[in-house]
Amino acid sequence: MAQDPSIYWNPILETLPREKLQALQLKKLRRIVAWAFENSPFYHRLYKDAGMEPGDIKRFEDISKVPKIEKDMLRQVQEHAPFPYGDILSVPTQKVTAFRQTSGTTGTPVYQADTWQDWEWWTESWCYILYAQGYRDTDRVFIPFGYNIFVAFWAGHYAAEKVGCEVVPGGVLDTQARILKMQELKCTAFLATPTYVLGMADAARKKLGIDPAKDLGIRKITCAGEPGASIPTTKKRMEDAWGTKVYDHIGATEIGAWSYECTEQPGGLHVNEGLFLVEIEDIETGEIITEPGKNGKMVITALDRIAKPCIRFDSKDVIRWAGFDCPCGRSFRLIDGGVVGRADDITKVKGVLLAPTAIEEVVRSIPELGDEYEAVVTKTGDIDAILLKVELLPGKEHDQESILFRLKDQLRVKTNLGYQIEVHPYGSLPRYEVKARRFKDLRKKGG
């Protein structure tokens, strides 16, 4: 569907016909594979061992000849020189201008090197996101983020500036000070994790007597770091709390910012296919999935990242292609409902596959429950059990029995499992600012 070109950050790429887009991806994949083969000893070994050379990629179907990489390989390569990245590095260390690292949630952190060009590229990928979500030079954007070793909203900050917004860095301020600063400066937008979006609204109401939906002029919020902004019930809670649209985007330190929701919010996110190549692989068979509606593991390539190339990275994120189009007119393909889980998070409990996001969807669909919860999986003998800790909102205690009945019923419908429920006093469960850890599988070492 043709649209006004001014709604796109780059109408050339964002409306490129699909066959041209695929040709562009093939051209860029060949370029980045050749770059890595020539400049990264790690990739050179990987490809040589697989009997592959860059010239072997002639057609789109040849992509599967390129060996995949996994996070453990990125960790292992760090044990070698050059410090601290290992010989995956494709540029001299003197060309590296930025260090970031992963959070280490699933093991040893992965260190990420970027040149200045890579940083411009990170920023550029975020410009696509922010522009698609309506950020313009009339916006004053608050960034309540502890600027540090995690990439999180760093690129969002630079991109907001590049798009022309005025950026207010909310660095080391505490939550109340951040809310007051947003109010004082009449900020129009902010970037945060879903957990923190809800946490800020709660703090505003409880500690400052401010109703974010009425007393602050926030017109849009962009989320990152957790799947919440694509979980309908969590999204609704955030939108109700702030009285505005909440948009999702997906990115990762090793990859880049590869996907974004646009203002049309069709129920999915566009993959930025101008800068990334996304493949979806069947978790069991490894076959590439091209049809909509079928969950699989994402294998992704950052087509233009040079210092530490990310080529056919098995991200373990579970996604599925959408079976619907977006009225925005972008030709970038949609994934349905964001990242629906992680291949290493989806776990069997009592023989039933369980995705932690399903628990979040149910808890946040019950308005009398607080935003926070914690699910703990244990095993006694051969028997699995799930304990779900929730908070009742103040004043709802009299209705506890009926609320818990609805909760258990919905959990059984959505996850096919029975739960032991524990009600905790409001405000007593852990609050998080960045990535929340609400699902604990104590059957696993370190879970």
Binding site: I12, K20, L24, W121, D304
Partner: protein, 59 residues
């Protein structure tokens, strides 16, 4: 695509790269020149990703 003169934009981007690289060659190693040119070149690369890379596909 008719709304944009891709060829002309691509040509201007190429000229910008050429000028920036030439400036660096003539700087005599002045850091204030070289480092600023590096940043300009990084931005030119973004123009290439956004425009030039698509050029030949539209021919």
């Amino acid at each position: 695509m008719a709304d944009w003169n891709m060829e002309e934009m691509d040509d201007l981007i190429k000229r910008m790269r050429h000028i920036a690289e030439e400036l660096k060659e003539k700087s005599g190693g002045i850091q204030a020149v070289d480092r600023n040119v590096d940043r300009i070149l990084a931005n030119i690369k973004m123009l290439e990703l956004n425009v030039s890379d698509v050029m030949e596909l539209l021919a």
